[in-house]
């Protein structure tokens, strides 16, 4: 199974820019399916980013975050070749994680 997480982390001098895309329906709970039944809410609640064992960013999301959510931020302290670990958990208790090298 391919990972649900895509990440691009690039070091520019002191700062590392991180962009990620996660494959997730992010169902709001307000949309109906073809039979007219409400699709229950299903969304990522927490995404955390760790570099060298330290949390560098935490996202708390609700159902208003778009399908296949995107995120961009930057942090200081990462170097080329360092490992960035990303993990998410959703409201149904599902989760995924990935480790990526900073470019």
């Amino acid at each position: 199974m391919p990972s649900t997480i895509r990440v691009r982390a690039v070091a520019h001098g002191e700062s590392t820019e991180v962009q990620s895309l996660i494959q997730h329906p992010m169902d709001s709970g307000f949309v109906k399916d073809k039979e007219g039944k409400l699709i229950p809410p299903h969304y990522i609640e927490v995404v955390s980013f760790e570099c060298n064992g330290k949390t560098v960013f935490t996202a708390f999301w609700g159902p208003a975050v778009s399908k296949d959510p995107y995120l961009k931020f930057s942090f200081k302290g990462g170097r080329k070749g360092d490992e960035l670990k990303i993990s998410w958990t959703d409201n149904e208790g599902k989760s995924d994680s990935i480790a990526a090298k900073i470019l």
Partner: protein, 287 residues
């Protein structure tokens, strides 16, 4: 039924053409002149959107509206079709049960060939789109055809388009009455008003191109297919050219045809030929 009628129309057009070629002086309907049509078509859009480079027309509404372009540039920092692109590469490279693969069915092993589709197959006398060729490849190798509009087909398309980025559309119309008739049939489908709302493809994508229709900016028809398949936010998923044709027909309250219906293939042939010279930019994103 529709396909058969399309054939009848085309047979008639082919006969008319044959008739005119036998009797050059006779005026048996307007001459079919794809090259002349293409020049006029491209000139129309160049006049309508001065300053938009030919290749940029592949980007549809983003080429002609600054506000939309800025949002698009943000979305393209990490485009939502990335997942489909990876799926498509995996599917394209996976061997069939008989050990062969898609690469064995296509020229240049399927890499960098998107710009040449659809083409007119002189042996079978019909327009062959990339999606039709993908399914024929599957069937020749004992695999079931894929559904046309979404899913794996869109993913394989996405991968094949991505290997062809930057290559200009290079659609050929052979000097054959059947090919010219297919072209003319596609052109007719494009300009004919249909559906309860009485719109043609051209009503929106030629006459009203670049204008706002409800929340959307209507894409110019020139270059429109160069960025397919597309991830549409409105769909929340990928879609092929067929999906777009079907949804366009539905929107004007016309009963859509079946994907890969002869009329849709002819339409794709016409539209792609009109865009010759526009570089492939697929997969793309749209609102």
């Amino acid at each position: 039924m529709i396909g058969r009628i399309g054939s009848i129309y085309r047979a008639a057009a082919a006969a008319a053409l044959l008739f005119t070629s036998l009797l050059p002086a006779a005026s048996a309907g307007p001459r079919i002149d794809p090259a002349g049509d293409q020049r006029a078509f491209q000139a129309y859009f160049e006049r309508a959107f001065p300053g938009v480079a030919l290749d940029d027309f592949a980007n549809g509404p983003y080429a002609v509206n600054k506000e939309m372009r800025k949002q698009w540039e943000e979305i393209m920092q990490f485009p939502p079709y990335d997942f489909a692109l990876d799926d498509g590469k995996r599917l394209f490279e996976a061997p069939f049960k008989n050990g062969k693969s898609y690469a064995d069915c296509f020229p240049d092993r399927g890499i960098g060939i998107r710009q040449s589709y659809p083409y007119f197959d002189l042996r079978s006398g019909e327009v062959v789109t990339l999606d039709l060729a993908i399914n024929r490849c599957r069937e020749q190798n004992g695999e079931k055809p894929l559904p046309y509009e979404v899913g794996d087909m869109a993913a394989i398309d996405a991968y094949m388009a991505s290997t062809s980025r930057g290559k200009p559309f290079d659609i050929r119309i052979p000097d054959d009455p059947r090919a010219l008739a297919a072209y003319e049939n596609g052109k007719k489908f494009f300009y004919e008003r249909r559906g309860q709302l009485n719109f043609s493809c051209a009503s929106c994508h030629v006459q009203a191109a670049g204008r706002r229709m409800r929340g959307d900016i209507l894409a110019p028809a020139l270059g429109m297919l160069a960025s397919f398949p597309i991830y549409r936010s409105d769909w929340g998923s990928m879609g092929t050219v067929d999906r777009r044709f079907v949804s366009c027909n539905e929107q004007v309250r016309s009963l859509p045809l079946k994907p890969e219906d002869e009329a849709y293939r002819d339409l794709e042939y016409f539209l792609s030929y009109m865009s010759n010279g526009v570089a492939i930019a697929g997969p793309g994103t749209r609102p």
